[in-house]
Structure formats: C-alpha cells, structure tokens
Symmetry: C2
Subunit: 611 residues, 2 copies
C-alpha cells in the first residue's frame, strides 16, 4: 500500500473529513469538513476555474450537485441562471463540505485549456533568459580583511554587477550566514541574494487575452515548463471587448483604469498562485515575466491610459516593449523581478501578434505566408519577399462565441464541429458533454456544412423548407432558426447568428484582400496560412475556405496553430534576445490602417455573401 | 499700509481669532481660536522645534506661558519636568489658542540652528546636479504621423533617454495636453514628465546626525538655498548614541531596525514638509537628495542592518555610496527622486566625514591638515604629503552635553562660554537666556578656565578650597561640584563632569597622537586644524589647546568650521561629480583601527591628565 493510499484510508475513518465523488469518472477525493468545495477540489489537484480568489464574484467555479444541492446563496443567484440553479449548479467557492457529496465538475474549458496547454512543443529555442543564479562563497570579514560583505559580494561577481539597495538590505540580513550565498542577477544588476546555494529561478510567460488570461511557469535553468493555468479575464465584467474597456476608462477616468488594471493583475495573481503552488515553486523565486497581449490589454496590464487607441488617429501611448519591475505592476512574484512586454506594431496589432510571428517563424525564406490571429479582432500579417504587412479588422465577438444567440465560450458542452450528411446533423461538443451552446469553431463549422447542404443560401438566408430540414426550421425573420441538436434542450443556429458570422468573415476577408492588393499578390501565391487565436484545431481548413473566410487556396496549405502568442512569450522568456528581435520585427512591419480605406468599405460589403 | 498690515488689522477685529505676544521681543501674532499654539507659531513663521508632527511625543516644541499657564496635559507631564511645568512650560502642540496669550518661545536651538544655518557660504561650487528639466513641444499624432507620444517624447529628448513605466503612465495622462511638456531627467533616465514648461526642480542636502537631523532645500537650477530646518533625531528615544541604537536592533531584530528607520524618515519628512512649505515648493518637485551621516545613521536611513558595526571586526554592510529612489526609503519627495548617500571609510568614519573633507577641501596642496569632527564619536583625519589617515575614537556623549550632570544640548539657556577673571565667573548662554545647563562647548570652556585659575588640578580634581572659590564648592567625592552661576537655580560643574571630559579628550588626543606617529610627524608640523561638529564657533581655540584636547600648536592655526558635513552634502547635491569624488576620497583614506591598538590604550591613560 502506498503512503498516499494509507493516508487516504486514514482520512476515511476521520470524522472531521468528508468525501466528494467526482462525476463523470467517479474518482473520490476527501477534504476537511467546513472547507469550501473549491478549496477541497484544488487541494486534490482537480482543475477548476476561478479567478476572484473565492469571493463569489467571477462565477467561474461552477459545479453541479448531482444529489441534494444545497440552498443557493446570493452569489449563486447573482452568477447563475434560475434554470442552472434548478439543475443543481452552484459556485464551489460559496459552499462548504458538510458530509459526503456527489458533484459534477466541468472540465477545464477548451479555450482555456488550449491557451494553457499549447506547451509540449516549446523549448527547442536557445536558453538565454538573461537571469542567472550564481553560487558564491564569501569569507567572513576579519581584522586583516575588513571589507564589507557588499564589496566581497561584488568582487565575487567579477565586480561588474550593480548592487541596489534591496540587495544591500538582503546582504545585511545574510551577514551572519555561513558565507554560502546565491546571487540572482538580471541584466547586470543583482536582483536578490539568498542564503545557501540551492536557489532555482523561474519565469512566467503571460498571455493577457481580452477574454482569457494564461500563465505558463518555466524553469529558466532548464527551459522545462512546470505548469500552466488559464482563466477568464476578470476584466470581462467591466466590458466584453477592448472597445468596451476603453469606454470604461473614458467613463470612469483614472479610477476606471485602476479598476481594469487591478482586475487583470488580480486574475493573473490567482493563476500564478495556483501554478506555483502546484509546482511547489516559491513565488519569490520567479524572477522574470514576459508578457504579451493586444495593445489595449498591455496598456491596462501596465496601468497606462489606453484612450488614444479607440479614437482616430488610433494611437497608443507606446508601441515599444516596456521593461519594469513586478512591484510596479503588482504581480505577486519576486518584487524586483524583471517584467517585459513585447513590442507592438500599432493600436490594434499588438505584442500578441509579434509574439505569434516569433513563434511561427514566418518570413525570410522567400515564402509567402498569411498569419491570422482571430479573436474579437482579426489581426492579419502577410509576409512576402522580405516585406511584412499587417492590418487589423474588427471581427466582432462572433468568433469567440459571443453575440451568437446560443453562443458560449469554448467550454465543455460547446458544439465544436458540425457534420451534415444524408439529412443527419451530427454535432460534437467539447469534452463530449451534452450540447449546451455554440462556440466560434462550431459556428463556422455549422455554417459551412449548412451552406454546403443548401440549408443556407449564398445571401445567408435560411432556404425555405420543404427538404429534409423543413422540420428543423422554425421562427420568423431574425428569430428564424435551425435546430442543431435534439433532446429536451436543443441548440439552435439563428438567422442573426449567420448575419453575425457574415459580418465577421467579411471584415477578415476584406482585410486579406486589401493586403494582397497592397502587396500586388494573388491569393494563389500564398504558400502557407497560419491561423492562431479563437479557433480550435478541430476546425476544418475546408470550412475556412468554403465559407469565404479565406480566399480560394488549397486547404492543405492552412494550419491551425493555436495560441501562438503564448508560445512566442515562452520563447522570449527563455531567450532574452528574442525580446529585442520582437522590437525589430514590430518596427519592420508596415501597418495598413483600414478604418479610413474606401476600398475596405467596398470589399467588406462585397464579401458578405457566402460562396 | 501694506496688504499684510491690512490683513493683520482685519484679523484684529475678528472674534474667531486671538493674539499671541511673543517674548522676548514683544512681537504680536494672530491665529484662529482653536488652532494649536504650534500651528499658529508656524503659520506666522516663528521658528520652533518639533519633529513628531504635533503628537506630543518629541517634547521639542516647548514654550513658556508667561501668564496664566493652562492646565498641563499628560504629554506635558510626560515630556517636561515638574519644575518646568511650575514655571509655565508647556508643549505648544498640546494647547490651543483660546484667547490672547503671552508666551516665551525659545530661540531655535544653537546646535540645530547651526546645522541648518551654515549656509551662506555655499554654492561657490559648480552646478552639475545631473538632474535637469527640459521644455519640449510635441506635435499631436495624426494619420500622417501616428507615432505614439512616447516615441515623440523620446525623439524630442534626442532619443537617448530611457522612458520607464512611471514616465509612460504620466505620458498617458498628458496625452490630451496641448503638447507643451517638461521632461525631468536624472542620469539618463526620465524621472517624470509634467504639463507645461514651468517646472522648477529642487534638491535636498540631508544630514542625518545621531542627535540632530538637518535638511537644506536648494534650487538645482540656480544653486540658491531656499530654506533649511533641523530637529532632534526622533531615534534618540530609542537610544542616545549609535551603540545604543545598534543594541536596539540586536534586541528587537528586524522590527527594531524598521522602527529606527521609520523614526529617522518620519523626522526628515516633517522637516521636508516644513522647509518645502515655507519656500512654497511642491514636494514632488524635489528630484534629488544627497545624504550624509555616520555609517550607523546611513545604514538606518536606508534600513540596512547595522549590527556588524559595533562588534569586532567592526564591519558595516557597505561603505560605498548608495543610490536609490525616494520611494525605496520613504522620503516624502518625488517618489522616483534619486537619493544618494556619500561613501564612507569604515564602520566609524562615515559619509559625514567624507562630506566634511569635500567641504573643507583638505589635502593636495602640500599642507598638513588635521580635521576633527567631534560629537559622540570623534573622527580624526590627518592629511599630509598626499596621504590621508583616519581614525575614530569613542569620545562619549560629554561633548554633546550628555553624561554631564547638569548637561544639555546646545539649546537656549545652555552655558556656552565661561570666563574666570579676578575671582569672578562670567557665563554666557546661548540666546542670552537664563542659564539652565551646560553644553559641550561650555564644558570645555569651564574646565579650561577653571584649570587655568587653579580651581582644577592637573589630575582633574577640584583643588581644596581656601581661595576665592571656596564658597563655590560643595559636596563630596564625585558629587563635589563648583557653582558656575548664582541665582535661585545655579548651574554647577561636577567632579564627575571633569572626569567625563578627561575621558573624552584623552580618547581624541590619543587618536591624534597615534595618527601623528603613524605619519611620522610632530604636532608642530600641522599647518591647520579644522574642527567640525558639536562645538560652536564661540569655543576658544586656546581652550582646545590648553585643556590638551589638541596638541600644543599655535591656536591661530585652529579653525572651528561648524557643520561641514551638511556643507559637503550641499556641494555634492549641486555638483554630482563630487559624489564620485567622495567615493575616491573615501577609498584613498587609510583607516587606523584603534580598538586593537595597544599604544592607544597607553596613550589614552597618559592623556587623562590636564596640562
């Protein structure tokens, strides 16, 4: 019997603990009576969302009591719908373990998962993190050599490192140690000194997405990833997209800015605590963080006013990478850890895109590459013949599953792929759970298949019934809808959803066309299309072409590359030289401002139809 | 009639205000009824001590109600003696103006005054403060030139300055301004940006003395001194000298260190508020501070553990100058202001001595100079033939007026000079006030005169009576004493005071002798003796020689130079190159450690006698 089993058995007889049976799967975990369900789940390593630190605010830690759900709390009522409450859904942070329970825990959401898990490929890059730990041994001062510890310390570091006040204070504390020290150096300055010679140093790659925050913990000595976590960006409650968040700042001034800044930092700190805790890494051993995000997100992360971004001429306060200390932004790692954001191109083409380019490695080899990062905004970078041209189009929230009537983020139960064959509609959901809504990937898939089956006309209208699908259509006008799944709570695609898709894809496609035109290229000249962002790898390349989101090119040239922004952040974390390279990449990119382009308006209208 | 007079007349009829007649002098000021006397005095520009911010803790704001003193408060009782309370002394911060009052306000104390006022000579030095304000005009971004404000800003500063996050945040706030900005630069980095082009920049020279804190406010653009203030170091209540303060840290650990640090910073911040307020300078316009003090004081100012200093081998954590930001130490000026401490030589020869050497400009010219800084410790630097030799001797508190039975700091009423002639004893006090005690200068003066008159023997004993002074002597053994002044509360010199003096002067003199011996020089080779520190300029050079504190040299070669540490700090503030020069001076000094020197013990005993 392993010691784990022994300890579990021991607990079993313990009258102060209770058990939770986790469904689906049936694994049973134990926890102390009176602890919140959230804490018990986390202590047992069960992945669960939650970015507000158990305050009942973010609504992300929802679980379902399969039997005897407790009375709903006011937070449950505020965060969950009445029908969810009736079905036994509750917030795990608002209920304590008071005996034995059987609950259903949604799998960590697909999108979040993906942001956090696109990991295995990493660390083929060189290790030059520019943070190092050096073991040194200092002789104690004596009458013969009364040099202070700071001078011995600097001499041991070849006399070059600057020893700032914070490090002097540490040396003062270590004065009585046994002379074995580890110096943590970053960029020619001593970041800290610790007793002994065992200090490991760690770094974070942080992806501040509009919708999702993701954090990756890496060992800077080996390049190994030790953990990752993602959660919904708590800023969402202050505005769904960057425009709404800038409006929040405009409305509430500096307080609004601070509020958004704190929301992001609070969410990140919860993730950092989680990921560091799971890897048993002290947070103060995290000495570097590399941060990517779109320009608005990076401004808010740094607490810099983003109000220039959404008004003509659309100018952020800065585009360059910014380097600061963790304590300046409030990240809960070593207070003097070096935090760097990567460079951006313009108000709407940000560090996330530059990081993505670093990760996918476009350009230079004579290849013509189209890189799309698709989320609420669609950023497009065309690389050809040594030139890089970027633009950004406002795709709207449809691709993220928002603004879709029965839309949802890429969480468990979201329809991800749709297949229409011989009058049958086959929907696959994330996690194999019963279908409860439609995510962005599912939206594209449904429209592509229904268009191909003739259910949707080129104009986007549902074709009038009569064929096999007649019984699946109901409603009128915008509320006309197609039933995708059966059962007592079917999921529908609405006429208005198709319109939302058309608007979004027309925006992206018009951007691509303008870029090709600007570069004097035909679509067929594109060697590779790389799609990062909201879409999951389950999305079929054919569907991207058949819906007209991409121009007519061979679908085999299209690759869904996932969260390349996070990948790029990790690379830049492990190889500091890439931070400078990012600056070069960003400055080398020609930016096409579409908002004043008349051709864009024409192309946009022209691309509304479905091929 | 001036507007001031008009306003005073206006107030006179005001039933909500009261008057205070100030004695001596009879000037009348007015204040709002209900305001504390301290506030009324300060509002009217009456100089008065007080370092605790009006909390009744420091006991420094004592005033005497000449008529109808109010009931004493518990703070009065805690801070003042019963006889003082009987005489009408109260704390100005603990009593409010409730009508008209006649009060006596002690002149700002001699020592404090001197620390703060040694000013007029300054600013002959070059102006290279290494902080500058540059007016720049930025064009607004446009579609044709969409460069962010940060890039325009950096370009306007020749592209060289680094723009840290704090400055980016300011640029974000200034985004909507009219394009006129002032950039404050320090050492190649942008410290801040402000709207408009009127920003003046200021600096502080700070002298963190064991007993007294002093702050000088200077205009960094002109070098002009705008104000100065001094107060008792609030650390005094945690320990009278550096040894007692280090003991406090040893006893209370990190809490004790923080407590001492906060006490000093709190005292300095009160002074900064006062001096900036009086000069109408916003504290955030203070962008640089240069700090001097002995090594323990500098460690405590920076919150670095000083425990290495008082135990063999007497090694501080650092000797070099330290550069940090105001926010790192808690100084209430611009949070990113550059704060620099000057370099020290050893655990007991500190930045104050190095600053003093910068100010008096010893050495180099082939002259042999002896520089003494006399306080609780006596630091001695002998400069000769390009060599500088320093040592430190523990003089004890006698020269500061402490450890003397009726001793007191150099405040109003302290006997400063004593003259014995024809059986008459003539005592002069600071401020001409009735004598209430003996300060360090007075102690030396009294002993010199009484020795010369034969009242004190070479051994230090009071000669047995019989002559004119018989009736002035009473008591036995250590309590035997000489009456210096007459009246109902005479001041005495005790036998034990003479012993204290002998110990102190023997320590200093032995240090001088060892240095001369080390340098192979005779006393007569000394061209100049410069005495800084506790002694006032009233002290006669003859007395310093006749008591044996100095070797037998021509008294005309002796000069009392006052608070040269503060002078040096001011010079280094105005000319940043002197900070580096201080580093060079500190490293060029040979340090003689006396504590293990056997000759020192012998010389010390040998120098106890009075010549």
């Amino acid at each position: 019997m392993s010691s784990d089993e022994a300890s579990a058995q021991e607990k079993e007889g313990d009258p102060t603990s209770g058990s939770i049976e986790l469904l689906p799967g049936g694994r049973t975990i134990r926890g102390v009576l009176g602890a919140t369900i959230l804490d018990v789940l986390r202590e047992n390593g069960v992945p669960i969302e939650g970015s507000c630190g158990g305050q009942g605010i973010c609504g992300e830690c929802r679980i379902r009591f399969v039997e005897d759900p407790p009375e709903p709390t006011s937070s449950d009522v505020a965060q969950l719908g009445a029908s969810e409450i009736d079905s036994g859904w509750r917030l795990a942070c608002r209920h304590v373990l008071d005996g034995d329970a059987r609950i259903e825990v949604p799998r960590a959401s697909g999108a979040l998962d993906q942001k956090a898990r696109d990991d295995k490929e990493t660390t083929e890059c060189a290790l030059h993190p520019d943070v190092r730990a050096r073991s040194i041994c200092l002789a104690r001062p004596s009458r013969d050599d009364p040099r202070p510890i700071s001078e011995r310390f600097r001499a041991a570091l070849d006399g070059t490192a600057c020893v700032p006040l914070a490090a002097l204070r540490r040396l003062g504390e270590l004065r009585d140690g046994d002379g074995q020290l580890t110096a943590i150096e970053a960029d020619g300055e001593v970041l800290d000194a610790c007793a002994g010679h065992t200090a490991n140093i760690y770094g974070l790659a942080i992806d501040v997405g509009t919708t999702t925050l993701a954090v990756h913990l890496l060992d800077l000595a080996t390049g190994r990833q030790l953990g990752a976590a993602a959660s919904r960006n708590p800023q969402c409650r202050l505005g769904a997209d960057v425009i709404a968040r800038i409006a929040h700042v405009r409305h509430h001034g500096n307080d609004g800015l601070e509020e958004l800044h704190s929301a992001a930092i609070g969410g990140l700190n919860a993730l950092i605590e989680q990921v560091a805790g799971e890897a048993s890494v002290p947070r103060t051993s995290i000495c570097r963080a590399t941060v990517v995000g779109n320009p608005t997100m990076v401004h808010l992360f740094l607490c810099v006013d983003p109000r220039g971004i959404d008004r003509s001429p659309y100018v952020p306060v800065f585009r360059d990478g910014v380097r600061c200390r963790a304590q300046e932004v409030g990240l809960g790692i070593h207070p003097r850890a070096v935090v760097e954001t990567l460079a951006a191109v313009s108000a709407y083409v940000g560090a996330d895109i530059v990081a993505g380019l670093l990760a996918v490695g476009t350009g230079g080899e004579g290849e013509t590459t189209l890189f799309l990062d698709i989320g609420t905004n669609g950023e497009i970078v065309l690389t050809s013949g040594g030139r890089r041209i970027a633009c950004s189009t406002a795709a709207g929230p449809a691709f993220e599953g928002a603004s879709v009537v029965e839309g949802m983020p890429a969480l468990d139960g979201a329809i991800e792929t749709v297949r229409v064959l011989g009058g049958e509609v086959d929907c696959r959901t994330i996690g194999g759970a019963p279908a409860i809504g439609l995510c962005g990937t599912g939206l594209v898939s449904a429209i592509a298949e229904l268009r191909s089956a003739g259910v949707i006309e080129a104009s986007g209208r549902f074709a009038d019934g009569g064929a096999w699908w007649g019984e699946r259509l109901d409603g009128e006008g915008k509320r006309r809808r197609f039933r995708l799944t059966d059962g007592h709570a079917p999921v529908h695609l609405y006429q208005s959803d198709v319109r939302e898709f058309q608007l979004a894809k027309a925006a992206v496609r018009a951007g691509i066309e303008i870029q090709l035109d600007h570069a004097g290229l035909a679509a067929q000249a594109i060697d590779r299309v790389l799609i990062g962002g909201a879409f999951s790898s389950r999305l079929s390349s054919e569907h991207l072409v058949s819906t007209g989101l991409l121009p007519e090119i061979d679908p085999s040239r299209v690759r869904l590359v996932g969260n390349v922004a996070g990948q790029g952040a990790k690379r830049a974390l492990l190889d500091r030289r890439l931070v400078d390279e990012a600056e070069g990449v960003a400055r080398s990119i020609e930016y096409l401002e579409l908002s004043g382009d008349e051709r864009f308006a024409d192309l946009y209208v022209g691309q509304m139809a479905l091929p």
